[in-house]
Amino acid sequence: MCIGIPMRVVELDGAFAWCEGRHRRERLNILLLGDVLPGDWVYAVLGQAHEKLTAQRVAEINLALDGLAAALQGETNLDAYFPDLIPPRR
């Protein structure tokens, strides 16, 4: 059960990239992803960039993590973290 953190690539370093997200900076292995550029968002877990993320997915994941953090701190009204994610298209 391997919770991931969205991080933004800030600097490439061979098979690795320095990435930042949720107040942390990490050197991630990017071999699984092929071409990665500074500014790209990636899903980070255990020192590896696991997949590229769109800005919308980053927002969804960060909201889910905020909701989980709130739940772990005992907050009971979590509705704000569940805006039903994607509004229906008109």
């Binding site: 059960m1 391997c2 919770i3 991931g4 953190i5 098979a15 949720r22 107040h23 942390r24 292995n29 071999l31 699984l32 899903y43 980070a44 877990v45 255990l46 590896q48 696991h50 997949e51 997915r57 969804e60 994941i61 960060n62 909201l63 889910a64 993590l65 905020d66 909701g67 989980l68 953090a69 739940a71 772990l72 979590l78 569940f82 039903d84 994610l85």
Partner: protein
Amino acid sequence: MTNFDTGRVRVRLTCEGGRVSAIQVSSERPDVAMLLRDRTAGQAVRLVPSLFALCGQAQARAAALALAAARGKECPQRLDAAVQREVLREHLWRCLLDLPILLGGAALHQEFVSAAKCVTDGKRDELRALLTSPKIAALRLRLKQDNETHSHSPNLLPPLEAKTSLIEWPRLSAEFCHLPSWRGKAAETGAIARHTHGNEVSVSPMSARWLARFDELLDWAMGNMQVRAGGAVSAASVAPGIGRALIETARGLLMHEIALDGERVADYLIAAPTEWNFHPQGALADHLLEREAVDRHALQQRVARAVAALDPCVPFELEWA
């Protein structure tokens, strides 16, 4: 937005008289399932892939299948191609990037990139050629020649599917998910359990864990995949409104159980492989207890190798009592 503690496996060693006299292993990870309770079923299933990165396909499939089973649609065991690809990529990462370093060499970056592409593109013959190439064959040979003193043969979790799991565990509980056991004992899950089931382990258990990952990769490359292999999925109805899914992930058995109250999630439980494999009385404790502890650096390396072979899905921290 806050920083987020994704948890850890904590290993605490007590050394007396030059030996490891006690070991405490604990898995400290956030209870993600608590976020899923009281949501609508649709919200819960959409949320799962947003929270799990490492085995995202497996977690997403587990949530969807458990929900379908709660609504009465069961799923007999089958291999799921997307979950299987995820399992194989994880095995490649461990075997080609992590293992060579543990054996004192360098990560096989180029081989990893080529092999991962073979899995993505379904090129089995190419993967087979790669895995039997001299560099990788040498890795496997070293594992087979490992002469480290055998610890006890691991107690392996037998192959299970959702329907048969109900006989063992009519319902899951939070206590079980935190400390899962098989018939009262800690048991190990993962490629070694899937691959070895019932056979004697002929090399040290540490090597056997790595060889089992290679074997699953080779099985796929040779088209020999069996339904109980990594990527196996199944789901069963526990009772009306309650469903359970079992998924064989890279690290082993993952179970999701969802209980519905109408369209609301009344309860959600997740039993994950790291809790099986890092059980306080499990394989790691068994491997380390009574080991020589005079050379602390050597012991530290032994712990790191043992943890890597058991492959937790969170970082590990070593403490000395």
